[in-house]
Each structure stands twice: as C-alpha cells, then as structure tokens.
C-alpha cells in the first residue's frame, strides 16, 4: 500500500530518454513508438503494460456504447490530511488537472459484444489507482445500477491499494464494495474481475478477487503485501515470478490469463455463457 507515492516510475511509457522505452519487467530497450504501436506490450517478454482508463474503455466497450456515470463523485479530504510532502487536497487536485479524471475508477454503462454491462476501469495514474471513498462509492453505485437494470459488472483493476490520505474510511471501502458485489452476485448477476498490472493491497483484498471469474493479463503483478515487506518478514529473497499473473494462476486464484488482443472477445464469450440460460 502506498508505494504508488513514489514518483520515479511511470510504467505506461517506461522512462529514460525521450525516445526510448524500457520494459519494466525484462528491462529491454526499444523505441517509445514501438512500445506504443504494440499497445504498451513488450515485444520481447510479452509483459502487458499499463493503459489509461480511457484507452482501455476504447478497447473493451462496443464502439460508441460507453456512457459515463458518477463523474461528480470525487475524492474527499475529510481528514484535512497533511504529510511531510504537502497536503492531500493539493496533490489530488493536481492529479485531477493532469489526468482529467475525478477519481481512480471510470465507471459507466456499456455493451461488450452486445451484452449490457456496467464497466468500471481503474486508472493507475490517478493517485496510484488507490481506493478512495469516491472510488468505493462509484463501485457501490454501479452495483445498484447493475441490479436495477439487470446488467453484468465488469471491473478492470489497477491499484496499489487503499488510499491512506482518506484514512479509515478508505479501508471501509473494501467492506462496502465487497458487500455491494456480494448482493449483486446473490441476485444472479455476473461479475467479471480483470486484475491488470498492478493490483495489490486493499483492492486485491476486496472487490478485485471476488469475480465470478477472475482474469488477468500476462505478467501482471497481483498480490496482497508488497515484495519488500515480505522479504523483510521472511528474511529471504523471493523468486522473480512471485506475485505474477502466472504465479497466481498456478496457485489457483486466477481463471485465465488473457492476452490484450483477445480480452474483449473473451469477456463477451463468458457473458454469453453466463446469460445463456439466465
């Protein structure tokens, strides 16, 4: 939780020089344009890099179908939170100005392969995709809409975990979203969770792990505790593939690793199974 605060890594376009990209997984260099043209996927190791919420929606929702909702629900500085580097309000306002988003998840009605869904996509560039009260409220509201309109719920997660600047109420969003999703599932509606790079902490430990099916992309980082915290606890180096999509699949927590190019078709196909007799 919280390592998103480190400003050095912006993995969507791995830094170094203006023209060069470095894959954060295999460290191979390539022209930035090549990285972009390959849909932010490393041509060498097939790591599926981060996408903005808007780009993801463009790739997943049927063309012209996305209708954004809850944009007015935003962050809350109910603790008047200040730390050594400044105050939360200024930080989050700067993020809003930079990203054009008002929370870490973009939510709305859409269709995917003709299936009616509520589609939520987290954006890691918004405060590390952290789970704030606004994020939780958007998800809870989405569940209510999905119930009322008999829609499936599809969420793409990308998050470092809870947003500590919002204190305990940020933690409570884990319970809130899990309860709302539980109610949705009990009503026989489908929830597909797509855990993208990275999904950790309080987000993996709540709504992201509760899908009727949980899917991910190659080499995504998924876990609860941070690697360094674990290494300091057990006094051992962890293997490279620890907390990777492949590791999670091997241990039984992911239904399938899906390539980005196949993602939309796969989700549409699953929704086809879920709605065949229902």
């Amino acid at each position: 939780m919280g390592w998103f605060e480190k400003k050095a890594v912006k993995a969507e376009i791995p830094p170094t020089k203006a023209l060069w990209a470095v894959c954060p997984k295999c460290k191979s260099h390539m022209a930035k344009k090549k990285w972009k043209d390959n849909n932010s996927i490393c041509p060498k190791c097939n790591y599926h890099g981060r996408l903005s919420a808007r780009e993801r929606i463009r790739q997943i929702a049927d063309e012209g179908s996305f209708e954004e909702m809850f944009r007015e629900i935003s962050y809350s500085d109910h603790l008047d939170f200040h730390d050594a580097t400044g105050d939360y309000k200024s930080k989050v306002e700067a993020t809003i100005a930079k990203t054009g988003e008002t929370e870490s998840i973009v939510m709305g009605r859409a269709t995917i392969g003709g299936h009616k869904v509520m589609l939520g996509v987290m954006d890691f560039s918004f405060m590390g995709g952290s789970l704030g009260t606004g994020t939780g409220e958007r998800i809870a509201k989405a569940c209510e809409t999905a119930l009322a309109e008999k829609r499936a719920l599809v969420i793409f997660s990308a998050s470092g975990g809870a947003r500590m600047h919002e204190g305990i109420l940020s933690l409570m969003q884990m319970a809130k979203t899990s309860a709302a999703i539980g109610k949705l599932k009990d009503a026989g509606l489908a929830y597909i969770s797509v855990l993208t790079d990275p999904t950790t902490g309080g987000v993996s430990a709540s709504f992201a792990m509760l899908g009727d099916i949980n899917i991910t992309e190659p080499k995504a980082l998924i876990g609860f505790a941070g690697r360094r915290v674990i290494e300091n606890t057990i006094h051992q180096k962890l293997p490279d593939d620890f907390q990777s999509a492949e590791y999670l699949e091997k241990h039984g927590f992911i239904d399938k690793i899906v390539e980005r190019k196949d993602m939309k078709a796969f989700i549409a196909k699953m929704l086809g199974y879920f709605t065949a007799n229902n």
């Binding site: 939780m1 409570m172 309080g202 927590f253």
Partner: protein, 271 residues
Amino acid sequence: MATKKKSAATAWDRVKLARDAKRPHLKDFIALITEDFEELHGDRLVNDDRALIGGFATVDGVKMLILGHHKGATVEENMEANFGMVNPDGYRKAMRLGKLAEKFRLPIVTFVDTPGAYPGDTAEARGQAEAIAKSLEVFAGLKTPIVVVITGEGGSGGALAIAVGDKVLMMENAVYSVISPEGCAGILWRDGKEAPAAAEALKITAADLARLGVIDEIVKEPAGGAQKNHAAAANNVKKAVLKALKELSSLPIEELMEKRYAKLMKMGRFN
C-alpha cells in the same frame, strides 16, 4: 509538551497502549467473560491457524460464536499466535465457523487485535488477498447478528476481515487504521520515525472513529488503561456486548440484514 494536559492522550499514546503486551488479549477476555468456551479448530482445507481462534461460548447464559485474533503476552505465546498475524487459513476458518453460527442461529462476537494480516510468501501462495476479500463478502451476508469489538490494534485489512458487523464497539485506547503509523510515515514522511505524526494525521483513535461513523460505541477502560485491570476492562466489554446483542436479536433478520447493508453503504458517502 509543556501544554500537555492529563486528559489529552495523543494518538501515539493510544498506539502504545493498544500494543501494550500486558493489555488483555483474546484468551483473557474469554477467561473473564465466558462461563463456557469450546474452541473449534481448522479451516477444513489445510491448516489450523493459531493466529485466529474461534469457538462456541456462553456469556451470561447467552450462547454465541466467538472469533478473534490471538495475541500473546509472552514470546512463547506470540510465537504460537504468530503475533496475531493471520494467514489465509485463519480467515477461511473464520468463514467456516461464521457459516456454522448462521446455520444454527447463533450470534457472532468478534475480537479484533492484530498488527495486520501476515505478509509472508506462503500466505500469498495460499491467497491472502482472496481470503480477506471473501471474508468481507461472507460476513456482510451472514444472516445472524454480528458484534465486533476492536480491543487493541485494528491493523488494516487483516483486522477488517473479521470486523464487518451490525455493531462495532471499540475500547477507549484501541486504534484502528488503514495502515500502521510506521508504514504510513515510511511512505509519506519518508521516515518511519515520524510514526507519531502519521498516527495523528490518520485519525485512528476511538473518538476519531466515532466521529467518522465507523464505530458505534466506545467501551470505557479502567483508569490508566485496560492493562491495569483486566477484570474491570473485561466487565465493561461484556456489558457492552450483551447490550448490543440484546438490541440486535430483537430485530427481524431481514431488517438486521438491511441495516447492516445500509451501514456499509453509508461509509464514505458524503453530501
């Protein structure tokens, strides 16, 4: 420090009290408030996690399921209890026993006291994230009254996993936080030694949490803290728990469930 008055315990003072090894822990509460306790072991999958204990209990004639984090007063006890840091197996045991209580219409009382869920490689391999997530979903939906008591450290997701309920009580010197003050200070202050400042900023005391609507009631502690007088502390907890259970058991189950859901949905809903 010159302005410090005797009533103005800082957030950091409370953190130290909440972590005091002499503070009453789960086994003390069980010994002091129950007439009968039968521990039930295991998750039926791989393990019996000693960091999370559960069993049937009778308190003043009222039969219930007790679940709680197990922390010890000595090094030996803490080794057994993994310092109250639960593995996925512990949360899966809690869910199993919770469903058992639901089936036989027994109320559930949970005692929360953990630095956090165990951050270990085997915990990750067995799905720590999934176990916590599933606990949140399951406890939100269990059709039986649930009373939660935050007795010491409410450490993030590892605490919350057994802290979803109809009434949340919190002892006066307990703390409950999204991240440990040290962890937060390490990230936002770049220095773990700034933990007292982080503790203040995070708003983690019982009074703060009551103001934020996260807890329903503060349970008074004896003068100087619960570690000074276990019996008095436990008696206050017992009275508060029984009062809460009485109130909850008078509600029809549908209403109880609606209220629990509404309570969760209200968390962080501003306007």
